[in-house]
């Protein structure tokens, strides 16, 4: 219990807050950009075709960053909910599992990106 | 509840009873000096009534107008109608500037002047150069100065980790076999358990007792518990006939409307719209001393120039003051007026009438905060182990009438002083526990009395008396018998009625016998103190056949320095009175000889 409290103390509220703000701001700009880009697309029939059309450097980079920020945003949000409402006894354990899951998801996403765009 | 067994005992270097401004200033100093102390309070510290003080605290800082402590001293003595002890007043006024700067250092958010210094406002009865121009001497945190000071003092006590027993009720002083004061018996309000706190130094800072009057500005906790304890210990109370009626309480309800309102330019008007204070105090008008203004309002109403359907109040008009000033300087007043009268003072005048506000009398002490009592030869002797400060004490710095802004000053100055006295004694003599008389017979009897059950038959037609009903009757008696104006006949009647109250009190029974937050029993214990104080007031007032300060008699309208330039001492036993001389020998200034008092 004591050990866990120390751990919680080490968590910065401010850093998370800042990252949440930055990611929110970025996504606020990115989503209209995404909508606009998609609407600009010529007709396509397969996902492969769409991916092909979208595979120009600026959009890819922006999407990659957005993906990262979605994960960051979700990370802070869900972490806060867990800190707030999970039984405190095993919270440290739950947070570790959650963080590992996020890491896994990140690797998974990177793999997706690589397979989608890498084969082009 | 177990009344027969032994009570648990705890030992301390010093005990502070009461956690208002005085108690907390004192406890802070004692803790800072490294003593093991405990502060006992029947409420959480920030609920203490210091919180309700509004206008400010006097100190000759000279931030707005030139000022000297000597001028402050003169004004205080004149305000006291020459009954204040001049050595004590001198000491208080000399300490004022430093004590205010110290408070500022503790974090009090004083309002500020453009140059960054503490804001000071005009208040009643204050002058420059011994009675000339109006002085601006009252340091203010908007109109919440008491709140600001009390919270800052509590915060500083948090910093030092002072031991606080909150929601503990102090029942009675305990004596050593030698007859000295050796501690106090307290009751935990949370579970009704008793505990003995033993200490060579017990300090009372239990505040006022405005609850003896029906119309008062005081909190319901202001029941004079320290005064009751002192009377039961066979010690006297001083100058209990002097009760300040604040000129501007919310009419019919009593909430305080600060003198700051007049300090910022507010005018009192009667039903004809006349600013009537010009008539009573041609020079300073609305900023005359409080007793003067209260009498003026009472006269206006008595002579039929009151306002409202019953012509029973006057108007306090600030509609000519710019709204920004009111928002910045008097936000709390505007709040109170809107909440309790539904009146926005920016647009409409506030309905006000004099209401009981402050007890000038109290437990007689010297400048060091030590309680004094006359010995058999009439000489004033220190009561070993007992101290008193703040409103419950009578040093006497307020004499027959207190100036606005001097009560907050009184509590911090003497709070610090008493702490220094105790601390020096502790350093010299160590914390010797003299042992207390554990027999506690009378105290146990008193507590047993409140265990008495109602043995009434099923006959519900008999109206059962209750603590609440007795308190209401008591307040009614005091309002009629000992108000702004007094005379022999009404006071005699009041004294007679009080004896009936005493009989009712002796016979009343409780209906609640639980131990957790038994507020009925608490009210009973408090009522014992209130009745004792009412007796002290009426007995002292009946004897004083003159008008002085707040004690104004229609049958003796003049001040009589020949016969009455002296303090009253009241003893509970047979309502005996003694007298003691007023101190007219300040240390650093020539005596201020009594003069007619004109404003």
């Amino acid at each position: 219990m004591i050990e866990f409290n120390v751990k919680l103390k080490n968590l910065s509220g401010k850093k998370a807050h800042v990252w949440q703000r930055i990611s929110a701001l970025y996504l606020l700009l990115y989503i209209p950009f995404l909508a606009w880009t998609v609407l600009q697309q010529p007709k396509f029939h397969t996902l492969y075709a769409l991916a092909h059309n979208l595979a120009e450097p600026i959009f890819s980079l922006a999407s990659l960053i957005a993906l990262g920020f979605i994960l960051v945003h979700a990370w802070v949000g869900l972490r806060d909910i867990m800190i707030d409402y999970l039984p405190r006894k095993n919270l440290a354990l739950w947070l570790t599992i959650y963080h590992s899951l996020l890491a896994l998801l990140l690797i998974n996403s990177l793999w997706l990106v690589v397979t989608l765009f890498g084969t082009l | 509840m177990n009344l027969s067994g032994n009570f648990p005992i705890e030992f301390y270097d010093a005990l502070v009873i009461g956690a208002g401004g005085a108690g907390m200033r004192c406890a802070l100093k004692l803790t800072e000096e490294g003593h093991k102390i405990a502060m006992v309070s029947k409420v959480f510290p920030t609920r203490s009534h210091t919180v309700a003080a509004q206008g400010g605290i006097n100190a000759a800082l000279g931030n707005v107008t030139p000022d000297k402590w000597q001028w402050h001293m003169y004004d205080t003595i004149k305000g006291s109608d020459y009954l204040g002890d001049q050595d004590a007043i001198e000491f208080m006024c000399q300490e004022a500037a430093e004590i205010v700067r110290e408070l500022e250092h503790f974090g009090v958010p004083f309002s500020r002047l453009e140059n960054g210094k503490i804001y000071q406002r005009a208040f009643g009865g204050q002058s420059q150069n011994y009675g000339e121009e109006q002085a601006y001497r009252t340091c203010a945190a908007a109109d919440r100065t008491g709140h600001a000071i009390l919270h800052s003092l509590y915060q500083q006590n948090i910093r030092l980790g002072t031991t606080i027993y909150d929601e503990y009720y102090a029942l009675d002083l305990l004596k050593t076999p030698k007859g000295e004061i050796g501690g106090i018996l307290v009751m935990n309000i949370h579970d009704g358990a008793y505990k003995i706190l033993q200490s060579p130094h017990t300090l009372l800072a239990t505040g006022g007792a405005g609850q003896v009057f029906r119309n008062n500005t005081n909190a319901s906790i202001n029941t004079g518990d320290g005064l009751g304890m002192v009377l039961r210990a066979g010690l006297p109370l001083q100058d209990m006939e002097f009760w300040q009626f604040h000129p501007t309480g919310v009419a019919g309800k009593g909430m305080l409307i600060s003198e700051a309102v007049r300090g910022e330019g507010g005018k009192l008007r009667n039903a004809l719209g006349d600013a009537f204070m010009e008539k009573y105090a041609p020079k300073v008008k609305d900023l005359a001393s409080r007793d003067v203004v209260s009498r003026a309002i009472a006269i206006e109403v008595k002579e039929g120039r009151g306002c409202g359907p019953d012509k029973d109040y006057v108007l306090l008009d600030i509609s000519h003051i710019p709204e920004e000033v009111i928002t910045e300087r008097l936000p709390g007043i505007r709040d109170i007026s809107q909440t309790f009268l539904g009146i926005d003072p920016v647009k409409e005048p506030i309905h006000v009438f004099p209401t009981c506000h402050y007890m000038m009398g109290g437990i007689p002490t010297n400048i060091q905060g030590q309680v004094v009592s006359p010995d058999d030869s009439g000489e004033q002797k220190v009561v070993p182990g007992l101290y008193a400060i703040g409103e419950c004490a009578c040093v006497s710095v307020h004499g027959a009438n207190r100036l606005g802004g001097n009560s907050l000053l009184d509590i911090v100055v003497f709070g610090r002083k008493a702490a220094l006295t105790i601390s020096e004694t502790l350093k010299l003599q160590g914390s010797n526990q003299n042992g207390i008389d554990l027999n506690l017979h009378t105290i146990r009897q008193r507590l047993q009395r409140w265990q008495k059950r109602n043995e009434v038959s099923a006959d519900t037609s008999v109206q059962i008396d209750s603590v609440i009903q007795i308190k209401k009757s008591l307040q009614q008696i005091m309002d009629t018998g000992c108000g702004v104006f007094r005379d022999q006949q009404t006071m005699q009647q009041a004294f007679h009625d009080l004896q009936e109250i005493q009989v009712r009190l002796d016979n009343v029974c409780l209906t609640d016998f639980n131990d957790v937050f038994n507020l009925e029993r608490l009210a009973g214990l408090e009522l014992e103190n209130l009745v004792a104080i009412a007796f002290a007031t009426v007995a002292s007032a009946l004897a004083r056949t003159e008008s002085r300060g707040a004690h104004s008699r229609v049958d003796y309208t003049e001040r009589d320095d020949q016969a009455w330039l002296k303090h009253t001492l009241y003893f509970q036993e047979e309502h005996r009175l003694e007298y003691k001389a007023v101190n007219l020998q300040p240390k650093h200034h020539a005596t201020f000889e009594p003069k007619p008092r004109v404003y």
Binding site: D80 | T46, E102, G107, P109, K117, S152, I158, F517, L519
Partner: protein, 232 residues
Amino acid sequence: MQFIISRYNPQIDKDPYNQTFELDNTLLSADNMLLDALHLLREQDPSLAYRSSCQEGVCGSDGMNVNGRNRLSCITPLSDLPQKVIIKPMPGLPIIKDLIIDMDLFYQQYKDVEPFLQSEPLDLQHEHLQSPEERAKLDGSYECILCGCCSTSCPSFWWNPDQFAGPAALLAASRFVIDSRDIQTIDRLKDLDSPTQTFRCRHIQNCTDSCPKGLNPSRAIQELKSTMVKEI
């Protein structure tokens, strides 16, 4: 009027229960406050327990939950209430008796934010200088009366009263962060930087809505967050 009051006496009752009291309207006048009505009810039943002291809204003793909202009974006009008034103790802290709650956790949270001025050493000849503008920044935070209405209406505080400072304590913390006389600003901000402290506040505004003194703890916490982002 009808008053349904939550009663609980730990020496007798296992759980709190509701008791219905009736007060004849003729006993009440138009300008009565809820506290006046409670005093009248106490005449009917002297064991009815609630705290009260100053009776004018400055001591902060008589916070209670009235028809679902935390209020001070002494400044709640009866005319603002319907004929049926449901009174409960303020939620989220242990009940001691009837409407009296154990506020120790609340006070402890206040103490833990070091709510005292830490300034340059005392100079008995001069006060600290502070401009009226600097002083004006304290308006809206120093007036807090520690009644607990805000913190006991805050779900984050209900959930973790031993961890989360709560709006009252954070308002006090912000009062010393913005005081121009305080020299520990950065340390204060660092101490408050934790997901269980300042950042546990989600700004749902319950505190601001319930504050009987019209203060805005939520905004103060928001400002505390921005100051942290800027200063540390």
